[in-house]
Symmetry: C5
């Protein structure tokens, strides 16, 4: 199977986020039919384990446009597609409508690297998450306007330093991961976070609202997807309940 | 059970607003099946009473995109999710489509505190609601642009004082509650109000349309959700009527 | 029953506009079932006649997002809700999807009053409709931006005089009514008109497009709803036709 | 029956454009049931022939939001409604969802008249279509902003002359018709074209993109509807095919 | 049959892009019924082979709003319509909902021609694709604002040279094709790409985000459609899987 720690740290990895609503007619299936749903899904996860890793999150109760979302990683974008196609052919997958789908890839640092911003890079690299085991995850797409992209490299570096200075401190209570999507999808970035401390997360985003970089955003959320971190098995079981 | 007065006054409490449309096929169920719907919902409310409180509002006749909405409070966001998942598994919940879902949290005063604006804070703290028992409730999401967030603390304080001066007088006929959502959802704030005097409420919003703070709004409503304040039981019964 | 002439002239009256599409499955009911639809609706109108008056308009053939709309007046917003809930529980109502719903209230003149603009107020009060019996009705929501609301009272009065001067002449062939909605819904105003002369109405709106006030509009229509003026009974019968 | 040539040339005529998608369940009807669909529709056209003329266009394969559209003319807007209501009650009409509906009216020239712009008016009046029989039709809604409408008559005349100069030459290969909609619908104009030469049409629109008038557009298409020109009978037959 | 190489290189050719979602009820058909779906589709492709060529792409797993898309070329736009109408009448086509449909045509170079920009034209003409066989395809609609179109020919040429200089190098790993749509649809251009190297594609789009031309975009994607390049037969078979 894919080495989870490695694939979550490497550049050039493809990340795929998809949000789903379970269709009401799923609950017209008999309890017996829904009972086997989780095992069937886990069998598909197992079938693809040499190519992809999958994380699942429960969003029902938080989001109108979804009940759950998946975050899939692979070294090959087509391998992710093969997995999702098999997933959509399971009973649970067939009764799920996909409501949002965003793809991106990981890349080396563009700004806060050892070369370009050594002090901040040191802070970035040395930070350690010290909060409780994260219970909540967020996916927030971000897109910047043509004004931003037409700034010089030096100007953009300055703004990203201004992004990093007030947020480094949050690395103790918020885990973060960045994906690059320009051209691959209708967003420039997909940002992903995990935390146990929603108040800290709210304050983190307020800090980033207050920096000049924010003036260049044409998409910052929409949707902001929040879910509880669950096993995929548990997501399927929870959403397969009912009369 | 959760202490209602306490949870409605404390900071760090999670508020969750969800609006629902009842699906037309609900009315294809027999009257007998729909008759037990309210009891089943109240049993779920009771099951979760140590963790959440629930308020319900009837919006049918006022809103195209909903028939009712719920306002749920908990000290733990995941407890709210657990309640809403059980609610969605009841008969009435299974026949409801969620059309909007916004989450936020209560926080201490950012601007009109004893430190920063003592006179207005005194007016705020001493005001008493003196109108008739409120019959209408409103949920209005609010989001401000990057220009607002990049103003200095002093500039933003000034604008919030300008927000408060003409509105303090309305505290006699409008109850208000503020939730903070930046990063948790696609809004910065969720505002909630109760009143018996719709003319006073219209005048209140006109007063707030006329202050400079309004120039920074990128979301002010959309949706503006108005409902009548009802028991959850009554909401379910009313919407379970039909042939 | 409610005095129609009085309620249509008084301030502080609640107006409620709702647009509906008839669902395709309505026409799968037998002709016999659809035959009784109008009587059932009129019985509900009669049940609520001491609290509300209802006007109906046929929009099929003019609007994609509706087949008919209703305009309901009451001195109490909750009475309107009670009526609409009973209407939605009739056969015809159960097979109607509400596509837009806007609420507002009537108020005394803000600008062209005897005090503030006596000449124009005289023109306003003395005008008489002299056209043929109106056959068409329009509902046009209007919302103005923060720039408008931050103008001084004097500046806004000037613009509303500029609104009134070129339009007074249309009072001979267009009937008008204004509702105020700020805070109650996602519009500032709901405007309503009746006419027999669509060319005159087009010219009226062109005149209002050409005044500076128009530069402040962030919503002017969307939807612009046009319907033919019908009895509610006839609307139900017309839309209950089919195989 | 209505004189087609006359009604297509007169001012004060009401034009009504509606686009439709055929619902998937239409194809669940037996072939026999679908076989009579065209005759039933043509019977309705015949029933209303003294009041309306109807043109039909096939858009399936070109547009996601429609399979066909209709263009109906009448001297009385309510006569158009009566026709469309009867059409919607036919089998084919009952299985069609209307996705867009725009109404407008023809008027005398506002700008390029003999009085205001005699040279260009001469070019306009003398031009003759000389292309192959048109095969394609376009409906393009157009709306201009408050800046445009607040220009003086002289300024707007200048811009419309700039609109006409580079486009007169296209009258040899593009037929055009203009409808006025301000206040009647959520567009200022509905423009309609027929051509056999799509390359010429593309160049025509590029010429109009390049004039200053284009800076005032807030709607220019959305949707741009292109269809092939067909008999109504053929449209119904083509879309009634299937297993 | 149509000469594929010729039609993909000629000007004046009509390109038609349509994206589809397979309806959930397709999977309620028996496996036997779905088994013959691919053959039926290929028979339609064969029937139209003298007029159109068809390319298919699998998007499920990448896009929320589609499962596959088609790219059809013909010398006559109506021939494309005839093909798509027959396709939509197959079993697989009948169970597909079209979610986006854009049409355009190929034209000679407007800017980087031998006359206007000889050096860059030389680079353009001499470039050869040298990457692995492409596996991914992209369709990205592009629309520019009135400011762009009102620039002089010389100004636009300058910006297009700035577009070409940093991107010529990508012709080794990205194949490109440009379609012109102004007036034919709600976009100015449809751009199409094939690649095996998604990182290179992301960098290519970043390069184009950073040029002044980007400031004139009012549509750049929305949707950005990415799919894997497949035979049409394989697309149908893959999407016909299930219980
Ligand atoms: C936990 C605290 C955070 C820290 C320490 C942090 C730090 C950074 C750093 C160092 C970079 C530059 C990466 C590079 O050099 O390529 C970056 C980029 C980025 N961050 Fe954050 N970030 C944090 C939270 C957030 C949040 C909450 C968001 C918004 C949802 C966000 C959105 C982004 C985006 C979109 C980029 C890419 C920007 C670009 O390349 O133009 N970050 N962040
Ligand atoms: C009943 C009369 C009202 C009074 C007395 C009032 C007073 C206040 C006060 C004192 C604050 C500052 C809280 C702090 O220091 O953190 C505040 C914030 C706020 N109020 Fe009001 N308010 C009223 C009505 C409204 C209404 C009708 C709305 C709009 C729907 C509204 C929207 C907001 C928002 C969004 C905030 C947060 C703004 C920010 O932190 O940037 N308020 N209000
Ligand atoms: C039939 C000719 C019309 C006349 C004589 C007329 C006159 C007036 C007058 C006198 C007022 C001020 C009321 C006050 O003092 O509070 C007013 C307000 C208003 N009118 Fe008109 N009007 C006409 C047509 C229209 C039309 C066609 C529309 C647009 C759809 C329209 C939209 C409005 C709106 C939105 C207001 C409230 C504006 C505000 O308070 O900021 N009117 N009209
Ligand atoms: C076939 C070549 C065309 C010619 C010769 C032409 C000519 C004209 C003329 C003379 C007028 C002024 C009518 C009047 O005086 O009231 C006019 C108005 C108009 N044309 Fe064109 N036109 C052409 C193509 C188009 C196209 C392709 C469009 C855009 C889709 C278009 C959109 C309009 C609109 C919206 C108006 C009304 C503008 C206003 O009154 O503000 N025209 N055209
Ligand atoms: C593979 C590298 C690329 C090269 C070498 C390239 C080159 C060119 C050239 C030479 C033209 C001018 C054609 C003419 O003279 O008419 C052009 C036009 C265009 N390109 Fe690219 N391009 C590339 C990638 C892209 C990408 C990735 C996009 C965006 C999605 C794009 C969008 C466009 C558009 C929309 C036009 C037409 C612009 C107009 O006529 O105003 N190109 N490209």
């Amino acid at each position: 199977p894919v080495d989870r720690t490695k694939i979550l740290a490497a550049p050039g990895v493809f990340g795929n986020f998809s949000t789903y609503k379970v269709r009401p007619d799923y609950y017209k299936l008999s309890a017996a039919e829904r009972k086997g749903a989780a095992d069937e899904v886990m069998a598909v996860v197992d079938k693809h384990k040499d190519k992809v890793i999958v994380d699942a999150y429960l969003t029902r109760g938080f989001k109108a446009q979804s009940d759950y979302f998946l975050r899939v990683h692979a070294y090959d974008m087509a391998a992710t597609q093969a997995f999702l196609i098999d997933f959509r052919a399971t009973r649970f997958g067939m009764y799920s409508d996909v409501t949002e789908n965003l793809v991106g890839m990981t890349k080396p640092l563009n700004y806060i690297s050892k070369d370009k911003s050594p002090e901040l890079n040191a802070g970035l690299s040395s930070a350690t998450y010290m909060g409780d085991a994260p219970r909540y995850a967020f996916m927030i797409p971000v897109k910047k306007n043509a004004e931003w992209w037409n700034l010089s490299d030096a100007q953009r570096l300055k703004e990203m330093e201004t992004h990093t200075i007030p947020t480094l401190g949050n690395l103790v209570n918020v885990k973060r991961k960045l994906y690059h999507s320009t051209g691959l999808d209708d967003t420039d970035f997909i940002t992903y976070f995990e935390t146990a401390d929603l108040g800290a997360f709210n304050n983190l985003l307020l800090a980033l609202a207050k920096v000049p970089e924010n003036k260049y955003h044409v998409r910052w959320g929409n949707p902001t997807v929040m879910g509880t971190i669950q096993t995929f098995e548990n997501v399927v079981k929870t959403l397969s309940m009912g009369h």
